[in-house]
Symmetry: C2
Subunit: 224 residues, 2 copies
Amino acid sequence: MSAPLTRREAKERTRKRLIDAARELILSGDETRVAASTVAKRASVAGATFYEHFRSRDDLLKALADDLFDELREKLATSRWEALAAPSSEEKLRQEFQTPLAVLAANPDLFRLALRVRHYPSSPLGDSSRRFSGNTRSDVVEELVDRGYPHDGPEERRRLEMIADVHIAATEVLALGYLAGRYPDLNEVVDMLVLVTRGTRLAREWHGRSALELDAEVVQARNS
Amino acid sequence: MSAPLTRREAKERTRKRLIDAARELILSGDETRVAASTVAKRASVAGATFYEHFRSRDDLLKALADDLFDELREKLATSRWEALAAPSSEEKLRQEFQTPLAVLAANPDLFRLALRVRHYPSSPLGDSSRRFSGNTRSDVVEELVDRGYPHDGPEERRRLEMIADVHIAATEVLALGYLAGRYPDLNEVVDMLVLVTRGTRLAREWHGRSALELDAEVVQARNS
DNA sequence: AGTTTCGCCGATAGTACTATCGGCGAATGG
DNA sequence: CCATTCGCCGATAGTACTATCGGCGAAACT
């Protein structure tokens, strides 16, 4: 039946069991449910064995968080790749929202974990989560640069970060609404996100002028 | 010195002490630091006394959460009132973002508490927090209706909710960036939020047409 | 084969917290 | 003035969890 296991194999197998158990627990509830003893029980090993693999409870949580958020970031990163394949530049823009939305909608537990933990300074997952957020922002800023947004100097750089933050926040909040059943049509959600870019895109011509001036210009253009 | 206290006075005084202690604890750390014993110690009463005033730890947390979020909502609600006083319609719009931003920036602990707790289903604060979020969305939808956004039928109503969600999320994420020191100029933040409305405002003319069509129209108008 | 290593485990000391109980003493009410 | 109420408290039972220790038995080494 079971081939004789080498020590290395056996140990890695047990470690994986523990991590898998912890993953299930953290995704189905919150971190407070992930106790060393609970994880061990769910992995069908003795409580003491837990500490053969992890120095402490927090040690496991950190390792787990890195795993989970790397996974999510990787999935989200495919959006750029997929968007490049789109025919028109309009479709490309839509795709750049559609894929992240689909990823979040397909991994609600992981998505919610990220949201939950983001603002908990004391959580062992907090660091990992905030690193993830920062990376996501950088990724989106890169997207914007590729789309031709100006990015010279700290001022323009900062504005790009603001735009990225807004795009991410809008995507997340609408994804959440979708998951809650409030916005059942993902196409409509994408439409809305595209509209948001129509606003933030005006920042491209921000050179020293205030938003009010810009706005007046645009309104005039539309009325003409 | 101290006048003789009636029983009622004494009891209310102690209760207030407990709530104040809990408030300090929850705002300076996270809920996990708010234990019945810790609160009692900080309020300088015996552990047993805690249970003379609250049935359980969760009982206190719920009462506290209602207090805190009601307080925050009330502060945010003043924004509409203040915005009405603005001279031009442009200034009015800016004010409608400026005041909430100022409120969030002035109450970072309370703001962060709301963010933290929002996605914790198991937290006793969760319910109260989500009620708060829902109310805030309703408030903003009302604002949009006042500003002339169409609101007949469930479709338009839903779109208003989406816009409100986006405006709130954008405000929150930029306020967070301000608190983190990333966006030190609140005026610039308001400018960006106004730009966002330039995008979402296009949804006013959504009547059955796709965002893509609308967009093409606007781009043409701007280029002409 | 004999010896060492090591992955696992049962038991348990230690910690932190919740919630209750019986009682003390001062305010309350006749 | 006496009996009662009640706000407060010290002590403590009960619960849940972390982390460690000594030891067992099978793999690894020689």
